[in-house]
């Protein structure tokens, strides 16, 4: 791991990647998107891309800043790859404009853009050795031979592939190929690297390990990364910010914490992690809280998060499973029957570190709650068909309207 201080805040709860506290410099916050003076490195302005009748990207505007690790997250067909390909220059926007470093990219072919891309399939040249694959980009620029040799060697060192320099791609494992692709796309020292599902073809263990490496390399070289992924966990652990995409449009942009804790729509809430969604009507809407009556939940929901909605309007309250506590006794702090409901345990999935409980409420609504297994399995107090109390704190819920 690099010794460089991590310039950005990483939510400790969201994943395995995060520097030790000693290496962190908490004073420096990397949040250029909150700085009105910061100039975005990439500006996407009202970009739309149509293929015939199909709108792949629908009126997208985004600003991405230098040094960011920015993820485009979405399911298949959400337009994330098309957006990336427009940044690379393989597709031209039907409408709208893209600026990279202040330069309008309209009509600039891929080979003249200050951008490199790592392809999902890696697209390694099968007839060239690892070394020649990495050297390819430098040869195109007419870099002197000696310099090519040293830079290729440095790059292979960085991705730990020096012993494989003379091999052909088909003699490498999937993980090694991925690293060749990374080395090849970084050797030209691009200011911006586009990565299309960089870890998609790797197995789970290798993926987690490579996430570390990607982040380290990105920090070491100070390159701006724009990553396309469908894997929300991957996006959460690596990104400075995430843009969640749905049907060609951006559903939400924010840091991993913002996206997870404060989703702005049911789509985002359900796409990232799992969530319990209670349908109801607003009873009280005050600046510091909302009260929602929900027949589905079987109780009133008191939420400190306010949606500025008129009383009586229809809404949903999203509560994450880990914020629901599950007890056999009625919780003491039960506040006038708010945020407390009862149900029967139907399913328990024991995952080792945590257990997932599926609880049926009186309304028939199935609720998901997770609890860490702080005691041993055999001493687990709650079991199938137990009647239990579910409760959550006022800050747990998020009020959503669509």
């Amino acid at each position: 791991m690099s010794d460089a201080p991590d310039p950005r805040p990483r939510p400790a709860a969201t994943g395995p990647i995060g520097k030790s506290p000693a290496a962190k410099s908490p004073a420096v916050k990397f949040e250029p998107w909150h700085d009105p003076a910061a100039k975005p490195y990439i500006r996407i302005e009202k970009v739309t891309k149509r293929f015939g009748d199909f709108t792949a990207v629908d009126n997208v505007s985004l600003s991405i800043y230098r040094g960011e690790f920015f993820s485009l997250l979405g399911g298949s067909g959400s337009g994330k790859t098309t957006l990336l390909r427009m940044l690379a220059g393989f597709e031209q926007p039907t409408e709208g404009r893209i600026f990279i470093d202040g330069v309008d990219m309209a009509g600039i072919p891929p080979y003249d853009r200050p951008v490199n891309m790592m392809f999902q399939s890696y697209a390694l040249f099968p007839h060239m050795t690892v070394e020649n694959n990495v050297a390819f980009g430098l040869r195109q620029d007419g870099v002197p031979k000696d310099e090519i040799r040293t830079r290729v060697a440095e790059m292979l060192e960085l991705v730990k592939l020096t012993p494989f320099a003379k091999r052909k791609p088909h003699q490498l494992s999937g993980g090694q190929r991925q690293r060749v692709a990374l080395a090849r796309s970084l050797v030209k020292k691009p200011k911006l690297l586009l990565l299309d599902e960089p870890l998609g073809a790797l197995d789970k263990r290798l993926r987690e390990q490579t996430q570390f490496e990607l982040v380290n390399i990105q920090e070491k070289l100070g390159v701006t990364f724009v990553v396309v992924t469908h894997d929300q966990e991957e996006a959460m652990t690596m990104s400075t910010r995430i843009a969640v995409m749905d049907h060609g449009a951006i559903a939400q942009v924010g840091t991993p914490t913002e996206i997870y804790e404060y989703p702005n729509s049911r789509f985002t809430a359900e796409f990232i992690g799992s969530v319990n969604m209670f349908e109801g009507n607003i009873v009280e809407s005050e600046p510091d809280h909302s009260l929602i009556r929900s027949a589905e939940a079987g109780c009133d929901l008191y939420v400190t998060h306010t949606a500025h909605l008129a009383a009586g309007s229809h809404c949903w309250v999203a509560i994450r499973p880990e914020k629901v506590s599950i007890t056999k006794e009625k919780p003491a702090e039960a506040d006038g029957g708010r945020n407390v409901t009862r149900g029967v345990v139907r399913e328990i999935a024991y995952l080792g570190d945590i257990s997932i409980y599926q609880i049926d409420l009186a309304s028939g609504k199935r609720v998901r709650a997770t609890a860490p297994n702080v005691t041993r399995r055999t001493e687990l107090p709650i079991t199938w068909d137990d009647e239990v109390w579910l409760s959550w704190r006022p800050f747990a819920g998020v009020v959503l309207t669509d």
Binding site: A88, G89, F90, P109, P110, Y111, V115, N116, M117, F119, S121, A123, L124, F125, P126, H127, F136, G137, Q140, D141, H170, Q171, R184, S185, K188
Partner: protein, 330 residues
């Protein structure tokens, strides 16, 4: 790891050993098993039998004739093995092969055939590559019809197509009339019965054999490789030279050999389109067989031609094998 051989035969235990096979199927299976034939062996047997019957045996016959001596009679050559006075008499004469070197006509004909075949192959490559590339990069639904157009000439007899060229290329033919009427030339061009006509004929006839293998390699090429090259700063022509061209090499080799090998022994095109001085080994072979009725010499010419062509065929095999290795490794 030992893998049980795939077998179409039922388990031997299914047939009790004491009971004689009743059906024909059982009997056939028993015989094939006894011969050590598994299902896979049986499948391969077909092509092998075909090759032995229609290639290897005829080749042995030709080889046998090539070491006999010409004789008046039917067949017009001496017997290889004869019973004379109760003893076995073996006649092996190399006079047929001797003639190849005695008369430089044959050496010249060989060389000229190689030259014509080589130039025609190059022409096919230069015309065929852009065509194959255009088809391979065309929208998917248009590729089928375009390929059909390449194959369409095969629906007309080869001879008729060569005759058509005669009427195009002759002094008062379509081409000369067109050029004369346009005022580009004032005297008819002498094309028919020259080497040029032979080049045109061979290039035209064998072009599909160049295009099809080229198309096959170009079509399966991963398009993202070109995108990757462009992304790394390669302009389109540079990407073509460094990526497309080397990766289509197996197609180039296959197409070139498919054109070159039959073109060397081509007989019909030089006889119909070529002049009397167009020396090609196929024609000399025909002359020896049918005019001189010297079957041993003609067979010797054929054997020598085969020997010449084994080289290119082996190169072809080498490339094919390499390609398959790569495919297997993936």
């Amino acid at each position: 790891m030992p893998v049980p051989p795939p077998s179409a035969a039922p388990q031997p235990s299914a047939v009790p050993p004491s009971v004689a096979p009743r059906t024909l199927k059982d009997r056939v299976l028993r015989v094939t098993r006894r011969l050590g034939l598994t299902g896979r062996g049986g499948v391969i047997l077909g092509p092998y039998a075909w090759l032995v019957l229609f290639f290897f045996i005829p080749f042995l016959i030709v080889l046998k004739i090539s070491v006999a001596e010409p004789a008046v009679g039917i067949p017009p050559f001496t017997k290889l093995i004869e019973w004379v006075d109760g003893g076995l008499d073996v006649h092996i004469r190399f006079s047929g092969f001797q003639a190849l070197f005695d008369d430089d006509l044959y050496v010249l004909a060989y060389l000229n055939s190689l030259k014509i075949a080589f130039v025609s192959t190059l022409c096919c490559l230069f015309i065929g590559y852009p065509m194959a590339y255009a088809i391979a990069t065309a929208p998917e639904k248009r590729r089928g019809p375009l390929l059909m157009l390449i194959i369409l000439p095969f629906w007309t007899s080869f001879l008729i197509r060569v005759y058509a060229w005669m009427s195009i290329l002759k002094d008062e033919g379509l081409l000369n009339n067109l050029l004369l009427s346009l005022g580009i030339i004032h005297e008819p061009l002498k094309i028919l019965y020259t080497d040029l006509a032979v080049y045109i004929g061979i290039t035209y006839s064998y072009l599909p054999f160049m295009i099809l293998p080229l198309y096959a390699t170009l079509e399966k090429m991963d398009h993202t490789l070109l995108e990757a090259a462009a992304d790394l700063g390669a302009k389109p022509w540079k990407a073509f030279l460094t990526i497309t061209l080397p990766l289509s090499l197996p197609g180039i080799v296959a197409g070139s050999l498919l054109v070159f090998i039959p073109a060397v022994g081509e007989f019909v095109i030089p006889s119909l389109l070529g002049g009397s001085d167009t020396l090609m080994i196929g024609r000399e072979l025909w002359n020896l067989f049918f005019n001189s009725r010297d079957w041993p010499s003609a067979s010797a010419v054929a054997i020598a031609l085969l020997a010449f062509l084994v080289g290119p065929i082996m190169i072809f095999q080498h490339f094919q094998g390499r390609d398959q290795d790569k495919g297997a490794a993936r």
